[in-house]
């Protein structure tokens, strides 16, 4: 079986400053991996590298058996909802339809089949009844769900979600978890940088612990052990009541 993602000694630097140093990982179809690390650890850079949007200084990335650039139509990216302009005059359905644009192609407009696919995706995230509303009037969690629907109707084989649980309510979180589980059943691989260790445990079977260099990759329970976390987060204190890992300490 072709791996969904292969990172082979990946290095990225900007202006001589090393942002990612020697990251190696292999993700199979149906796997979900949480990318864990402090702010500035290079989590978003890794996501952008998988999309082929930043050049590697060393190493290589294979996505779905090909180069990141060629794999893009089969990869869906879910940005953080709050990075988008809430005042933009676009409806919920129109945002979801953007997931179909690549398969629709240039010049042509979305047809009935595309609308049906977008509506079905909105139904999966419980927002079919809001299809005609303007994107910006929805709550933050609902907007995040629309962006997930946009990725779903793209019918991608690899889902990249940037901090999907940032600022979402618990019902949205539960919905995300069940949708992601269903996608993994179908063989879709999931990669998500996240700050939230408890939700990472719920959503992902594997983890990649990063802070510039890789502090571990593999089954999430093994990788996110207190020693490794302390090393990756360096300046922060860790408390572990029971099996729950909580990060405290000062931000720098």
């Amino acid at each position: 079986m072709v791996p969904a993602l292969e990172l082979d000694h990946v290095c990225v630097s900007f202006d001589d400053a090393l942002v990612l140093d020697d990251v190696t990982a292999r993700i199979e179809p149906g796997d979900a991996v949480a990318i864990i690390g402090p702010n500035g650890a290079g989590k978003s850079t890794l996501l952008r590298a998988i999309l082929g949007l930043v050049p590697l200084t060393d190493g290589s990335i294979r996505v779905l058996g090909t180069t990141p650039r060629l794999a893009r139509p089969r990869v869906a990216y879910v940005p953080q909802a709050d990075t988008l302009d809430a005042e933009f005059p676009v409806s919920v359905l129109q945002v979801a339809l953007m997931g179909r644009y690549r398969s629709i192609g240039w010049i042509r407009r979305p047809g009935a089949r595309d609308r049906a696919a977008a509506m079905e995706a909105l139904e999966q995230v419980d927002l079919a009844d809001r299809a005609r509303d303007r994107f910006g009037v929805l709550s933050g969690g609902q907007r995040q769900r629309v962006l997930l629907a946009r990725a779903l109707c793209q019918e991608a084989e690899l889902l990249l979600l940037d901090e999907p649980f940032n600022g979402v309510d618990s019902s949205t979180q539960d919905l995300f978890l069940s949708v992601l589980a269903a996608q993994r059943e179908r063989g879709v691989a999931v990669v998500m940088p996240t700050h939230d260790l408890s939700v990472a445990h719920l959503a992902c079977g594997e983890a990649c612990l990063l802070n510039q260099r890789q502090y571990g990759f593999g089954p999430i329970d093994e990788v996110l052990n207190p020693d490794a976390l302390r090393a990756a987060y360096a300046t922060r204190t860790l408390v572990t009541p029971g099996d729950q890992v909580i990060l405290t300490g000062h931000h720098h």
Binding site: L53, P79, P89, S91, W106, R109
Partner: protein, 288 residues
């Protein structure tokens, strides 16, 4: 009513002025929507200055002023688009450098001419009342080309304006889309020179779309509203300017009248929609 709204257009020069105003009003209203959604108003403004050396050189060389403006505009659109791919130079700085450089070249060329001539005054302020058939056809051709570009790339341009990072992630070439949109704006700027001149053309590209933005909630209706506002103000601006000079002996330049009228509409709509919002907010408070 007939005297005020129809009679002015009985004469040939007013018919031609009306034709070109309607073309520019409609095209400016549509293309302006993309300018406003992409937050590129300052770029459009930059273009109005960067076409200047093209016109100046064409004038000195005795060539077509339209062609000179078009070539200089497209050159600056290409240079601007390429410069924005360098992340260390931000867009504002790139535009400021382009604007001043192109304008300086224009001034250098013009300063070699001993007398400032009418043609260059037309470039700055436009002269809608003296357009001839050929100029109308040129404006129509340029306007149609601009509309074709945005019609073909509509969904990608809106996607890019809404979520540029998502568009890149989906594998689209953002630089090519930028270039296409910037060239569409260039075409409108050049098409509108004869009607309102480079100083005022920016109003036709930005104000109708800004009004439409206040009145609508999605892109399709916004385009329709932008075109309607552009066309209506083009027509009414001519009526006002004509009536002022014939009935009241006040000489209002037609192009400038259109621009001032657009601004009045913008202010009225801003106040009205803001007032409506406040009213709704107050009603919600009362209900609670």
């Amino acid at each position: 009513m007939y005297h005020l709204f129809v009679e002015p257009f009985a004469v040939g020069f007013m018919q031609r002025a009306l034709t070109v105003s309607l073309i520019i009003g409609a095209v400016g209203g549509v293309i302006g929507v993309y300018v406003v959604l992409r937050k590129r108003a300052f770029f459009a403004d930059t273009l109005t200055h960067t076409v200047f050396p093209g016109v100046a050189i064409a004038f000195v060389a005795g060539g077509s002023l339209w062609l000179g403006a078009l070539l200089a505009g497209i050159a600056s659109a290409v240079l601007f688009t390429l410069s924005t791919t360098n992340r260390r130079v931000d867009d504002d700085a790139a535009m400021a450098i382009l604007l001043t450089t192109f304008f300086a070249i224009g001034v250098m060329v013009v300063s070699r001419i001993t007398t400032y001539t009418n043609d260059l005054v037309v470039l700055l302020f436009g002269r809608v009342l003296t357009v001839d058939r050929g100029e109308i056809i040129t404006a129509a051709v340029l306007g149609t080309a601009a509309l074709l570009i945005v019609a073909v790339l509509h969904k990608e341009l809106v996607f890019q304006a809404f979520d540029p990072e998502g568009l890149r992630a989906a594998g689209y070439p953002p630089v090519l889309l930028d270039l296409a949109a910037n060239i569409a704006v260039t075409l409108v700027v050049v098409a509108a020179i004869q009607a309102v001149g480079t100083v005022l053309v920016i109003a036709l590209l930005v104000t109708p779309a800004a009004v439409a933005r206040l009145l609508t909630r999605s892109v399709g209706p916004m385009i329709a509203a932008g075109a309607t506002v552009g066309v209506a103000c083009g027509y009414l601006g001519l009526v006002i300017s004509y009536s002022a000079s014939i009935d009241h002996e006040l000489r209002f330049a037609a192009g400038a009248t259109i621009v001032v009228l657009l601004t009045v509409v913008f202010v009225v709509v801003t106040l009205a929609t803001g007032g409506a919002r406040r009213l709704r907010a107050r009603r919600v408070v009362t209900v609670q």
